[in-house]
Chain length 486, copies 4
């Protein structure tokens, strides 16, 4: 059976022996570590929902490789309908977790690698796509989480990979032999790496002829020899280490990013899907980014739903939900959130088949979608803070509420509308805090800015894809500027 | 043959004897009147392109009523593909005309009337839909332009139709007899009414039980007895009366709006599609508005393309097109314009079949689309003015350029990059002026604001359609607020 | 007596024999020409108000040169109080005219020229300042309007003055002799040139050593031999030529810009205030721009007051003024408008004395002020159009209202709240049209964008003036980054 | 001597026995508690700088009560110069601390209470002002920190104080006797209360005749019997409890807010400055809010300077500081930041003397200033996050950098431009994190939103103060709408 349960997923992680560092110490039991567990829970949702009949259509798909029912996160998109369902699945999971659920980079990576390896094979007679699909078939069968590992450290941004003071600042092949290759380097900002079964390494940018060593795509078990994970900090992260359950804001779920270091890690040829074909590197990045920029139209509108709902709830608990300006701000949040979503699904509906059979989204609209994502969540969060009121950032800790002397006083003085317990207000404010200025803001805001490329990356693509010459022709024609004049 | 040529369209208008007033005078030959002709040309484009093979797929459709190839502007949408093609057709025509092409209100009206009359017939056993489809069949066969006449004057906005000082401020039935009904009132802001063959009257808002006389849908020939058109002014409109062809900005095309007055006009029962069923009035308006709000995602992004192209062109003629900040502004214009478009097509793709078989767009997204249209064209226009430079509003008239003494001096001093004649710069600046501060700004800006409902109308719908309760539930769940606590 | 009356001003113009072209024809009686007269009326207001006791303090000042009471528009600023009063005077005049009143460029130019010529004299031992002050003394005594003529055509923007294909694209000295100099070239976008008595020519940018011929400051009577004015077009400009008084929107006032061509014009040495000192050119432009950017904080907030008032009035006439969203939009307009004003007065209050005794505004804040002016009027105008409703751009001409048959019908159907005549609505909508999409939009919007330099010019200055190093030091210190580490 | 040193301030706090709760426990040594100390350090800066000659002019003033040199934070403003210097002092302290320095509420409160008590005394023959000035004289002499305690819990926002389910939700007088009064209630969001010597209680809103018990102004020692402080949580607050000094972002400084509970606290008559005069309550709030809204123009632009500097620094360390789009974003940050500042100083310069001799700021502009503060810091923070890159939220903890195995790897892989140690990048990113998504964001963002009143409070004032009638008159006049027509 291809669909793991939530429990099977947790078990499968427990069997992996990864090297994980947090707060300066290497830890053993990363699955039950309170700092990491919320991000494991978030991925676990992708398993849990796959077994719920009402979500089956969105969360699962029929594999194009095996014909089996598989988790959509391991699927190659076979139609625009698949692309649209992906975005709807992402919105659903955003709504359920209120955070980043971390399984999209792998999914978008599969599809990008499939298209590009197919093309390389066609052009150069290699067998990368065959090997990749064999790998993916197993991923589907075992229902694995695969971290798409793309972002290199980049060092001094003015310098290309080969110009860097330290060559390892872009992950590279340091050895090749009959059995495989050895890679060295690091990938930064790895969303959800520690809760993955596999890592799929990809290059981070277009490369020059002389930079072949950086042109590598390959897959590795996340506990392969030489791989080290260092857990990244988030705002208010250590609240997870405190007793209690309210101040953390989002009770069960969270995201994480890690620095993943590859200390001369060996990869057998069977798992190498690009090795030196630097001329395809730019295209791979562009296709991956295209998919992933559309993905944000789903997940972030899902989290947006949660934040809008929380804002509406806090207004209700405080007695302001009928004030005109509050309603108007809620409407503005809805508008911005749905604009993001419209971008995601428009991008998907306008997808087209590629030679490998895998469907590609519309690149221009994907960049439009993501560029809105770099702006609107910030404004939605600002409006949420406006509605929430100052208590959002001045409320005492839940331990104070539990104190015998001041607890009752706080409940008395922080009461809102009498039909709702003060604890409702407390909880919903902590959730808004989480998403707008806490650990959740890392994924809702900063990740919206930089994930799948910073805004400038989208702007460069928009310039390139917008067919300005045609537009200029339209204008000249209407203005009566003749071709022969030109 | 159902598809008229451009010439046949012009001829057919010449056979109609409408009463048209401009500048205080009634005119005879409205077809060749220089103030009106540009708007007739714009509609003529919808005929012209229907015969061009490369546009056949967008501009024509197979009639669901007759099976014939018809102009899409007379079509009942039979699929989401039809809805998407509508938006793409609108973008194409916006690109070709650089203005409003005025045939959409009728199209969106047909589909709204079809859905609602079908429902009335089902509910009440009437035969409105049958009559309507008979009417529409003829429209398709004759390839007619039908003005959808919805917006009543409304008088004092604080008062409902029946509370107004003057009851005629909402168009109403003043008499009923065996042959038909008599209506009195006016419709304002009628986009392109004078270049239409028919008017289809619809109510403008939800109505109360006591307001049955205002609940009327019917069709009339545009030259029916008692109908008077008064042409509306636009910025710089009288440039069309000047000699020359440059200062008008958009050489061939323009839009117009008219006040249409109905002085006790008789309508035979055969052409009456709603008569007193006030309970359906609100729904009709909402469905029409839904369609029409999505339409703006198409036409305005088409005009946006022209304005972006003009901005790029003027930068080229002036030697600034490689300056970073100019490129960045062009990118911003593209981004905003495509965000509008993404809204239009997402709305269409998410359409659903209604009981009449006609497809309805997604109402929530339609309102999102239109609300962006009330903002982004203004910002795009602002950026275009930024790029254009001050000459946009300080350039002497084309007659000055034609003057023997100052003409050569102006050509000398207003020259830009030497490879382009000064006239290019002159023409393209006049086009940007037209769209951002001239006659074209009426359709690109003010119509974007108020067409298909002013922004507040969209906001009210967003609040109603966004399912806030569900969002609140999502937030409460993540915050650990139990149902039983509530 | 130094303060002319309005009538004396008009008379004085009639005595000047300027060469003025409009619509391809040279005209004689430019003072009473209906296209030009509104801009003469606007300047005339600066005379009229100088005699009204309640405005004396703002509109007049005590001359630092003669001790006489003079019009503030001819004054050298002697204190921050003078600088602030300038901005307040500009707001007042914007409120009274609803447009650009065109006398500021000269005023700001005087002060800039005073500071820089003083410096040149100090540095180089020249007598420019002495000559300039002698000239200015006469301007004050005669209460003259002086057009500050700065903006050269610039041709291909990628090329410096000396690289242009045609050297005349920057105004330059083509001959020098014992009596004076001869200049050739043109100045574009000359706000209000035709209603001026004098032109004061200034260079338009920083110049290189090899570009001495372009470094010229001098004053000429506006009817000097060889000067030609070509009137610039504005949106809806020819409404001034129509009969009637409503459609023009702003009944009395308007602005104008002209192309001013200098065909080998002779200037005696007595009126030459810079001649070849190219090293001071950049500073002169910067100081002038500084003053003038602050000026926009006054005049545009004054026009903004008119537009806000018109929006409030139209809401009242239509019965929407108590709707929450209308009130909220009015508040937003007020907020943006006052933000502009705050910039203008802050800039002035923070002014400092210069060696010449003339006070200079704060340059950083002046650029901040102007950059807001390139944005907020556009948003204020958008909100005004939102409040106004669609009739803003669809209302028939006033001649239609005067027609016997349709006039009464229009008055019936375009009636709003019954206590106000339809004509109120008609007039106030035409005023909003004027300011947001008509002739007034030229000064309220496009001039706000480009006057005193386009937005990019402000941004360059902000970068230069913001003392980023100091800010970086502040951050490093708080972050614990030690100097010695660096 | 009236000016305490930093050390004297710390000592003086140690002598006070306040009841302070944090994390559910009452603590003794609140002065050296690592959670609280940063906010004490911030206030300590106001003492430290008062002794530095270069800051003496801004930080100190000559008392109007005693003629002594006092700290400006205890000063009654005697001129617009005083008002402007206040804002400049606030900017300076924002620059030095990078956070809220918490001494402004008291200062603005003094001035508001002075004006209003003077008025009450004049009107009613009371002696409140005399008592208040006697109190203030001692504050100046002892150089005390006084927390202005205004914001009541408010409970159900739809209900007025007397309608609340629980009357204590607005602080009130529960007993009066010959010696004084007894008050009960709470004040929320008390910025910096725990580091204060005194609390000055003020009402939070306009009150009705029947709500006299809520109309109380009085001063109490912060350790008076019955006062309890509960420390409020902030994002990432517990990083202060961790070892190390980098992850906290701002090494020395921070703000805090507390819930202050008054459990039947006695206040002698000598310290009661309003007792039941509810008719002055609204005015007191309005005057206080006016001062305090202007204050934000100073402090927040100071913190903005730090954030701009940090963004410039991180760009330098990463090698992006010369990229056009980075420079452009820095410029935008500067522009927004200076717009805030311009509002603050314009408000101050336009101040006017009141009957008590104390100067009041311009209320309209103060609301404009603050309304910009509710928007621009959010956009500045968004831009800072854009420039910072993803590492802002994915960087491992400083303990990881200290680990023997992964520390060197992190330093290798997170290196930027080679001339700067990785630790620079680490420190500056933590500072940006602090201000935009950590503890500093509480003061830079959420406090900017809600401090001195939420945005809606400013909007209400703008509507009231903007003189709309006059604006309407201006518009009508220009449109030719005669008074007699009206």
């Amino acid at each position: 059976m291809s669909l793991k349960t939530k429990e099977e997923y947790l078990d499968s992680l427990r069997h992996m022996k990864k090297r994980v560092f947090i707060f300066g110490e290497e830890i053993e039991d990363y699955v039950d570590h309170p700092m990491i567990r919320p991000s494991i829970n978030a991925i676990a949702s992708t398993y849990e929902l796959s077994h719920q009949p009402e979500h089956k259509e969105l969360i699962t798909a029929k594999s194009s490789l095996t014909g089996e029912r598989i988790n959509r996160f391991t699927h190659l998109f076979q139609s625009t309908d698949d692309l649209v369902k992906k975005v709807k699945m992402q919105r659903l999971l955003g709504q359920r977790t209120g955070t980043c659920f971390q399984r999209c980079v792998g999914m978008d990576g599969f599809n990008a690698v499939d298209i590009v390896t197919y093309k390389i094979d066609q052009d150069l007679g290699t067998e990368y796509n065959t090997k990749f699909r064999r790998f993916l078939e197993n991923v589907q069968l075992e229902d694995l989480v695969v971290d798409g590992a793309m972002t290199d450290p980049k060092g001094d941004r003015r310098l290309s990979p080969s110009e860097q003071n330290e060559l390892d600042l872009y992950l590279r092949i340091v050895d090749r032999n009959d059995d495989g290759i050895t890679i060295r380097g690091a990938k930064l900002h790895q969303t959800g790496a520690i809760n993955s079964h596999e890592l799929m390494v990809m290059p981070t940018r277009a490369l020059k002829e002389s930079e072949q060593d950086f042109a590598v795509v390959c897959a590795l078990p996340a506990d392969a020899n030489g791989i080290i994970f260092v857990f990244g900090r988030q705002a208010s992260d250590s609240r997870r280490l405190e007793e209690g359950e309210i101040d953390v804001g989002n009770l069960q779920f969270g995201g994480h990013e890690a620095v993943v270091i590859f200390e001369d890690v060996f990869v057998p040829w069977e798992r190498v899907f690009m090795c030196g074909e630097c001329q395809y590197s730019g295209e791979l990045v562009e296709i991956f980014a295209g998919y992933h920029r559309a993905s944000y139209g789903g997940c972030k509108s899902g989290v947006g739903d949660v934040l809008i709902g929380a804002s509406q709830a806090v207004a209700r608990y405080q007695g302001t939900e009928t004030a005109y300006h509050i309603k108007d701000k809620i409407v503005e949040m809805i508008h911005l959130n749905e604009t993001i979503y419209a971008g995601g699904i428009a991008t998907s509906y306008e997808g087209k088949e590629t030679p490998s059979g895998t469907y590609m989204i519309d690149k221009l609209l994907a960049n439009v979608c993501k560029l809105n994502v770099t702006r609107f969540p910030y404004e939605i969060a600002r409006l949420a803070q406006d509605i929430a009121g100052g208590l959002l950032v001045t409320m005492p800790s839940e331990k104070d509420f539990a104190n015998e002397e001041v607890g009752p006083l706080l409940r008395k003085y922080l009461a809102g509308v009498k039909t709702y317990p003060t604890e409702y207000r407390q909880r919903i404010l902590r959730l808004i805090e989480n998403i707008t200025i806490g650990a959740g803001a890392v994924s809702y805001l900063a990740e919206s800015m930089h994930g799948a490329g910073s805004p400038m990356a989208q702007r460069i693509m928009l310039k390139r894809l917008a067919n300005l010459d045609q537009k200029e022709g339209l204008a000249n024609r209407i203005a009566g500027i003749q071709k022969e004049m030109k």
